[in-house]
């Protein structure tokens, strides 16, 4: 047992750290530190920089652009990227669809889509949830009926993140309405420019426009866009959701947010002393730091165990990472809200490009309340924390 990183691993970490330090565009980094939304262009420019360095899809097989890094190296890369802070490569393509295509897609699909995912030539979004199918995802009803060499898709998807930017959507659709719930579902790739698709934004409680409803009205999809076998889509979705949980603890993000919180707490004053000198406030930050350190090591234990796992299904321990990770991220937003005080109150105003009007209150205050509200999503998406507890109860505890 040696819990230290090896000299090689430390050298690797220093290399990626130096890259992030020198390569993340200043404007993008500033937005991330301030907690503001990134524009489509910000994601695209950065992911292409990463791709040019050969690091957009490190966890993919080498033949499709992966790096062949060990699980520890992949962890260090992600941790450094999150701490930089730098935007992650677009998860819908890189973490969700990519591995599904690699595992289950046809050769033609791989050749057609994978390089474009890595270079973000296509912006992908995820069509899983429906108004009647949330935690009970398998009750989805969007249908795809075979008509010659096409499927005809009808129905509605919802909570579709950043669909407004999307070129493509990967969807779970019902191809056999007679079959039992989990059977009869297929995994379909749909061009967002197809006739019959309508995207309607859903404004969230923080005022942002990240999510959408997507409507399908007799949308014709070529059969070659079916992934794997018809009616086997549920298996692919489970595979995808398992991958989604890897790295979902977002330990590096929380480290960066805590560091920022402490910097701001040294600036923000209450009477004649900075907030960081308020004993109660400081202890509440320290408690989050303890939980985060424990989570970091728990995550490393999962990463280390990956080396010896022969079973390729997701480790149910990753559900613990999801729950604790989301609790910690949310706790940090709560502390930030408390720190900012009365200047949490002005409703956020996205600065117009070119405007020189000064912000209301401290320049870091504007994003604090919106982030607090927005990050409530973290314990809901990707399988709510309650669903994660069901998974742990069944898969680990045998209850």
């Amino acid at each position: 047992m040696d819990l230290r990183f090896t000299p090689d691993e430390i050298a690797f970490r220093d290399e990626v750290r130096a890259f992030f330090r020198s390569s993340v565009p200043d404007g993008v980094r500033r937005k991330m530190i301030d907690g503001r939304h990134l524009a489509k262009e910000d994601f695209v420019v950065w992911q292409r920089l990463l791709n040019a360095r050969g690091w957009a899809v490190p966890h993919w097989p080498v033949e499709w652009g992966g790096t062949g890094w060990s699980p520890v190296q992949q962890y260090l890369f992600l941790d450094e990227m999150q701490q930089a802070p730098a935007p992650p490569p677009l998860a819908f393509g890189v973490n969700m669809l990519g591995p599904v295509l690699i595992a289950f897609g046809s050769e033609a699909q791989k050749r057609r889509f994978l390089p474009r995912i890595a270079n973000i030539d296509d912006w992908w979004c995820q069509g899983f949830s429906e108004p009647g199918a949330g935690s009970d995802l398998a009750s989805l009803r969007t249908s795809a009926k075979r008509d010659g060499d096409h499927y005809v898709v009808n129905g509605q998807k919802t909570w579709t993140t950043l669909a407004q930017h999307a070129d493509w959507i990967f969807c779970l659709v019902r191809t056999d309405p007679q079959a039992k719930k989990q059977q009869g579902i297929s995994f379909l790739l749909i061009d967002m420019k197809s006739k019959g698709i309508t995207v309607r934004p859903i404004v969230t409680i923080d005022g942002s426009r990240e999510i959408n409803e997507v409507f399908f009205d007799d949308v014709r999809v070529p059969v070659e866009n079916l992934v794997g076998e018809e009616n086997k889509g549920w298996d692919y979705a489970k595979f995808l959701l398992g991958n989604e949980r890897v790295g979902i603890a977002r330990v590096g993000v929380s480290k960066e947010r805590v560091r920022r919180l402490k910097q701001l707490a040294a600036l923000e004053r209450d009477g004649d002393r900075p907030m960081i000198e308020d004993e109660r406030f400081r202890e509440r930050i320290a408690l989050v730091e303890v939980e985060l350190k424990a989570l970091e090591i728990t995550q490393l234990r999962v990463v280390a165990a990956e080396r010896s796992r022969t079973d390729k299904r997701p480790d149910p321990a990753s559900s613990i990472l999801k729950i604790k990770g989301s609790e910690i991220q949310q706790a940090v937003t709560e502390l930030a809200l408390e720190l900012v005080g009365p200047y949490a109150m002005p409703a956020p105003q996205e600065p117009d490009e070119g405007s020189n009007e000064p912000p209301i209150g401290p320049d870091w205050a504007g994003s604090v309340a919106p982030t607090y509200f927005n990050w409530r999503k973290i314990s809901i998406y990707g399988g709510s924390n309650e669903i994660q507890k069901n998974i742990i109860a069944k898969a680990i505890l045998g209850l």
């Binding site: 047992m1 819990l3 090896t6 480290k255 730091e289 490393l300 209850l399």
Partner: protein
């Protein structure tokens, strides 16, 4: 980075677990508690045979030269068995002081006796007014010719009642809470002027109140540099915290396993109660608390050899925060989910809960260490 035990460490784990499995069942443990010392001399001799008592000492002094990982392995097993024996007092605490402050001569004389099981030691450090402040020492050591004379009162000295010798901290100079001026002295437990009042602690272990009145100590029984002992005391207490963290993992794991087992067997309303989602989620909360604590026990094991004392102390404070909080949640929920049976003296879970509660108190509970960690600017550099 590697969380796996080496082949030797795995063998150690197997043999300790086998010994405690054979001789350390809960029923036997309760019988051992009724022996004159409140623990089993026979089991102690088996610890010695297995090499557990000489584990952390250097080979040239008669030890096995093992490190913090081996101590972690042993302590976790002792936690699972809810062991009563003075391992923490003799090997970790007093043994640690001897390792870090003792002269070669002292080590060569003491270590073989510790390792052989014939010498029981206790650390008489705490005082009634001191709470958890290690520098708060009112007991005095006055120079008298070549030797020293000790006066004062020590409280809740773990296994102080069955110890053959005590290691006493006493002030050779300075005011009561000053960092400088503390020394360590080896005192025969039966020496003239030593009065001991032994008693059981609520977790079924033993401790003693110790009064020292004009106790003479020879020059060769001074441990280390008199007046400069506090950094050594802090280091050894940190080692004890890492060891207690490992013990607590064993304690918590048993409480969690027993609870999950109970959920699977206890039937109410025509179903096993483990089929109820609210109880499933509670059991998951306990598991997460256990895994977070386990991670911090590993962190403590790694950080106990950290050369920067400030970083080391912060790591132990963070560990104490996590195990204290996890232990409270797991202990309270273990009782709650067992219902009435969890409240009974005859059932084991309550005893594990009591041990866990005492582990939190030892060297300062979670809240104490949270304050200390926050005052030291936390773990993440701003």
């Amino acid at each position: 980075m590697d969380f796996d035990l080496s082949e030797e460490q795995r063998l150690l784990k197997d043999s300790v677990e086998r010994l405690l499995g054979d001789h350390g069942s809960f029923e036997r443990r309760q019988a051992h508690a009724r022996e004159p010392d409140g623990w089993s001399r026979r089991l102690w001799a088996r610890y010695a045979e297995l090499g557990l008592l000489g584990l952390p000492f250097e080979e040239r002094h008669g030890g096995l030269g093992a490190g913090p990982v081996e101590t972690m392995v042993v302590m976790e097993a002792l936690g699972r068995a809810l062991a009563l024996e003075p391992y923490l007092a003799t090997v970790v605490l007093a043994g640690g002081l001897i390792r870090h402050a003792g002269s070669d001569r002292q080590k060569s004389s003491l270590v073989p006796k510790i390792a052989g099981g014939s010498l029981i030691l206790a650390f008489a450090q705490g005082e009634r007014q001191a709470r958890y402040d290690l520098a708060d020492v009112a007991t005095t050591a006055r120079k008298d010719g070549d030797g020293w004379v000790l006066d004062g009162e020590k409280g809740v000295a773990l296994h102080g009642d069955s110890a053959d010798r005590l290691i006493v901290s006493a002030r050779v100079a300075g005011t009561r809470r000053e960092r400088a001026g503390i020394g360590l002295f080896l005192v025969d437990a039966t020496a003239l002027g030593v009065t001991r009042r032994g008693y059981p602690t609520v977790d079924g272990l033993r401790a003693a109140e110790i009064a020292l009145s004009g106790v003479r100590v020879d020059a060769h029984d001074v441990l280390g540099d008199p007046g400069k002992a506090l950094p050594v005391i802090e280091l050894v207490v940190d080692e004890a915290i890492a060891a207690l963290a490992a013990e607590s993992i064993g304690v918590m794991a048993v409480m969690h396993e027993a609870t999950v087992e109970y959920l699977k067997t206890r039937k109410q309303f025509g179903a096993t109660i483990g089929s109820f989602q609210v109880l499933q989620h509670r059991a998951v909360d306990m598991l997460m608390a256990l895994e977070q604590a386990r991670s911090m026990a590993l962190f403590a094991t790694m950080m106990v050899t950290e050369p920067n004392a400030g970083e080391r102390r912060k790591a132990m404070a963070a560990t104490k925060v996590q195990i204290g909080r996890s232990g409270k949640l797991i202990g309270q929920q273990a009782i709650q989910l067992h219902g009435g049976i969890g409240m009974t003296e005859a059932y084991k879970v309550g005893h594990y809960f009591k041990r866990m509660t005492m582990i939190d108190i030892l060297f300062g509970p979670a809240e104490h260490h949270l304050t200390a960690l926050a005052r030291a600017d936390g773990l993440i550099e701003a």
